[in-house]
């Protein structure tokens, strides 16, 4: 039986991890809500952002968090371009399937270019406060993990406010709920969809920077992320941002706790077991999301 301290430590670690999962899954959910697109390249952009943060730190010698000043707008623009220039040109009737392949191709291109530019060597940012930790009720929390979690929470909160309190958010939600109706009430759904994509990709920029603070990165790392993220958005109910966030925190927590008795590898299978169970018993997801039934 694991000690109480280890359990508590694992709960904390699970919550910290879940926060990052939640931010990234929110982006994936946005794409799906807007266009019914499963964006395989999301985690490739995540790793790209992490590399840019690493590069900023090692080459320019400034704090990796500052790289977001460039990467967030850059990724927003890339998202708009990706939607307007590529995805919206696919034939509507085969869009879901073909968009998977197209974004898969984008992921391969990013992975190849990262490997070309930075080689396959594993990289890690070396920060002065990298090994520092805080003592909280008997558990120790690494400072870098706390920063990453804080970033994720801030970004999610900003996304929430944007969706709920602004005119653009209102238009975006209307587009997600019923595209044709949104068009009828005068929303330029094409443009809104493009910006929505940019927003999704901007979450990858923030998530990637957070990720780079405390883990190793290498070009093919994105395969390691896309599986859990896709499982999260299905469990949360395709298209539902709050559902994805709830599923992310829950699954992150379960993964962290399962590592105590089962070890790292088996613990990862929880994502896929949850995915299969969701599809078999409750295809619309466990946290709302009406879309999944049909897609």
């Amino acid at each position: 039986m694991p000690s109480g301290a280890l359990l508590f430590q694992s709960v904390i670690l699970g919550l910290l991890l879940g926060g990052l999962y939640a931010l990234l899954a929110a982006g994936l959910t946005l794409y799906f809500g807007i266009m019914r697109v499963v964006m395989i390249a999301h985690s490739a952009f995540l790793i790209l952002a992490a590399y840019l943060a690493w590069w900023t730190h090692t080459r320019l010698g400034i704090d990796p968090l500052l790289s977001m000043i460039v990467t967030v707008p850059l990724f927003f623009g890339a998202g708009v371009l990706l939607q307007r220039g590529l995805l919206s040109r696919l034939r509507a009737i085969t869009l879901t399937m073909m968009s998977v392949l197209l974004t898969f191709a984008v992921a391969l291109i990013i992975e190849g270019l990262l490997g070309y530019a930075f080689t396959g060597t594993q990289r890690r940012i070396q920060l002065g406060y990298g090994s520092a930790g805080l003592q909280v009720f008997g558990a120790r929390i690494a400072v870098v993990k706390l920063i990453a979690f804080g970033l994720a929470v801030l970004a999610l909160a900003a996304l929430y406010l944007l969706m709920k309190k602004t005119t653009f958010g209102w238009a975006l939600r209307a587009t997600i709920q019923h595209r044709d109706a949104a068009r009828l009430v005068g929303i330029d759904t094409e443009r809104v969809a493009g910006y929505g994509f940019g927003l999704g990709l901007a979450t990858a920029a923030i998530g990637g920077t957070a990720l780079s603070l405390d883990t190793t990165i290498y070009p093919s790392l994105h395969w390691h992320w896309i599986g859990p993220l896709m499982a999260i958005i299905v469990v949360g109910g395709l298209g539902s941002v709050p559902g994805a966030a709830a599923a992310a925190v829950l699954l992150g927590l379960i993964q962290s706790l399962l590592q105590i008795p089962l070890g790292t590898t088996w613990a990862q299978t929880i994502f896929y077991l949850a995915l299969f169970a969701t599809l078999a018993f409750r295809p619309q997801g466990f946290f709302g999301g009406r879309l999944a039934q049909r897609f």
Partner: protein
């Protein structure tokens, strides 16, 4: 459009035929004669891209240094050495295709091994089935030697499971109250990395030293906080990491975050890396690592190797480079002694020669048992006073063993 649909099919059929036929024609090799002044073509497949690409490049430098140094001295049997290096993308399917190509299409006179245990076994099978001598620099796990290969030789002092033999002897010779009582093991899911950690584990467990944590993590693990939490909560006296490079660093940083302080910490791979100290915040004092090679080793050919390698690449050689160079030395010794280097009967003679002889190399004299397993042990190095020094065995030590290890 029924007819047009049909036509599509037959257009395809014809297209396919053409491509097949073209494929069949394009393969004509230059079936060359082997006149005595032809260069000796040495075929190698290495992981130059993909997961093993970093050590793969080290091995490549070792082979290039060997070819240059040998050619500068007039080559082998009066023939120049020509390397043909293919990239296997760290992929087992590719490594097999590469050796098929090197042996079948390029008609290489000699082939030597790739990097990583995972690729050595499939590659060695190709060489074995074409009857080629196969000396390799990287297949150190015991599984390599249980496949029944007759032509395979590992060109390093010891297999993975024997890497910590000197450390185990040292610890078991300590008085019972000074020995570590509990040990935590964390090993990458890789035959080599696991082999090193479990070799030590078997010996310590047999002597009654308790295993309190035994974790295996997949090679793509980037977040070590959960493993670290388990190790830290076990408060083990000693930590053994079956690591390559980055995973060892990540584990140490995660343990530092949790403020876990073992009395001994040993890692395979990581601590010998030039960037190790910086990566863990220079808190290296007392960290242990086994090594099969030291640039300071007194063997005659080593001085020449270190000097010329440094001149060629601008830095001292590492273990990967040395193992590749050693591989070259073993092959060269056999070729010189037997007096031939080509496919066919010659290969059998080369194999027999290596089985029956001892070869002087940059890692010391090497000899092999029937399975191609080398008969030696690794030295143990430790970070002492900001440098990594040999501490075991007694006979070659450069510094005193530090125990218990200072805090990191």
């Amino acid at each position: 459009m029924r007819s047009s649909l049909r036509r599509t099919r037959w257009a395809t059929a014809l297209g396919a035929t053409t491509i097949l036929a073209l494929g069949a024609c394009s393969g004509d090799g230059d079936g060359g004669s082997t006149a005595t002044d032809d260069p000796i073509l040495v075929g190698i497949s290495l992981p130059l891209t993909g997961d093993f690409s970093e050590p793969g490049k080290g091995v490549q430098q070792g082979y290039e240094a060997w070819a240059k140094i040998t050619n500068d001295k007039g080559g082998l049997l009066g023939r120049q050495i020509q390397l043909k290096i293919l990239d296997d993308q760290s992929n087992a399917d590719r490594v097999v295709a590469d050796y098929e190509q090197l042996i079948g299409s390029d008609e290489a006179d000699l082939v030597v091994g790739p990097f990583s245990t995972r690729l050595v076994v499939p590659a060695a099978r190709v060489a074995e089935e074409y009857g080629m001598l196969f000396v390799e620099p990287a297949g150190a796990a015991k599984e390599v030697f249980s496949q029944g290969f007759k032509n395979l030789f590992y060109a390093a002092p010891a297999v993975a499971n024997d890497h910590y033999n000197h450390l185990a002897e040292y610890l078991l010779a300590l008085p019972a109250d000074k020995r570590p009582k509990t040990v935590a093991y964390a090993a990458m899911d890789d035959p080599f990395a696991q082999g090193t950690a479990y070799g030590l584990k078997d010996k310590l467990e047999a002597a009654g030293i308790k295993t309190v944590v035994n974790e295996v993590y997949p090679p793509n693990t980037t977040d070590f906080s959960s493993i670290a939490a388990k190790i830290a909560s076990s408060k083990a006296d000693m930590l053994v990491g079956g690591s390559q490079y980055q995973d060892g660093v990540n584990l140490i940083v995660a343990l530092q975050q949790l403020n876990y302080q073992p009395k001994l910490a040993a890692f395979s791979g990581a601590p010998t890396n030039p960037e190790f100290a910086k990566a863990i915040g220079n808190k290296t004092e007392g960290v242990l690592s086994p090594t099969g090679y030291s640039p300071d080793a007194p063997y005659p050919s080593n001085k020449e190797f270190v000097e010329k390698f440094t001149a060629q690449f601008g830095k001292a050689p590492d273990e990967d480079q040395a193992n590749a160079y050693t591989t070259g030395q073993v092959v060269a010794a056999a070729v010189t002694a037997v007096g031939c280097a080509e496919q066919g009967d010659c290969q059998k003679k080369l194999v027999d020669w290596v089985h029956g002889n001892k070869v002087e190399t940059v890692v010391g004299p090497l000899s092999w048992d029937q399975t191609g397993k080398p008969q030696g042990a690794h030295m143990i190095q430790q970070w002492v006073g900001g440098r990594i020094r040999i501490v075991l065995p007694e006979a070659v030590k450069e510094a005193e063993f530090v125990y218990p290890k200072p805090a990191w």
